[in-house]
Symmetry: C2
Subunit: 146 residues, 2 copies
DNA sequence: CTAAGAAAAGTGTATATACACATAAGAAGG
DNA sequence: CCTTCTTATGTGTATATACACTTTTCTTAG
């Protein structure tokens, strides 16, 4: 006999657990990055722009899997602080995002702190669980994006 | 020779990947819960209050691993809509949170939609990866909370 | 008992997030 | 060409998130 209605078991909810882990990890990474002045989310955006070169908003949104309109707003502080610049393109609808010299500098300063946060968590988890985590997250994104 | 400075490999960043997966999964669950009128985050809070009974704010914050001040604000819409009530206790500093009858009703209505989102994702991931995901997230919370 | 310290909760401010809707510009068909 | 469709982006509104700081109330040392 199947249960009819009941108490939803939140301990096996993918959403609740993802959110919980996200909050916990975000606090860790944000704290580690604090000396650099960057938030972890901002670090990610700068790193992508640095590694992959200038690109339009929509492309960046696709890469990091952020809603386009969210990204538009996330860029505000980075533009305000002069870490990211946007320049017009031939297609006048498109604005191409570029990391500035100042942006590269703050990124460079932040990298050791990010690395430190990475190392600490990887050590705490152990290599096997670290790999599991990244694998499971990747599979989850794939499963929800299609 | 170790690398000196370089491009941080965001594809192996626990934070970036967690955040990415969170966004993707949140959108899925929020969409599924839409007919109920609840956000996935709100569903989680109601479910905990329903399953574990009334409790003070701080305790709920500990359980769901949300910053206390965040939770305080997350409860606002639920109180406004009459899904959660807060009542004074002997200790006048404490306000005890209670799910209301209306809250239980909306929760009940939301459960099938939540279940549906759960099932869909579990099916897409497969049982093995589903278990991996929940295990990895749990381990991650443990690793960052200590 | 009272003063010092701890605990529970709220506020100010800032970022992060996304849906619904709006705008503007390029592309495509006739 | 011009209308229609599509693409790139922005705005309005609302929730989610957390740090620093404040307030109120208990608790505890003396």
């Amino acid at each position: 006999m199947a249960q009819i209605t009941m108490e939803p078991d939140i301990s096996v909810c993918a959403h609740a657990n993802l959110r919980k882990a996200m909050r916990s990890v975000s606090q860790t990474y944000d704290a580690a990055l604090k000396p650099s002045g960057l938030r972890a989310t901002q670090f990610t955006l700068l790193a992508v722009l640095n590694n992959r070169g200038p690109m339009p908003l929509t492309q960046l949104a696709d890469i990091v899997v952020v809603e386009r309109t969210t990204l538009s707003r996330n860029l505000k502080p980075l533009e305000r602080d002069g870490f990211v610049d946007s320049r017009p393109t031939a297609d006048q609808r498109v604005r191409e995002l570029v990391i500035t010299r100042k942006g590269r500098e703050v990124l460079k300063k932040a990298i050791p702190h990010w690395q430190e946060a990475q190392n600490r968590l990887r050590k705490k988890l152990g290599q096997a669980q670290w790999v599991d985590l990244l694998g499971a997250l990747s599979a989850t994104v794939d499963a929800t994006q299609t």
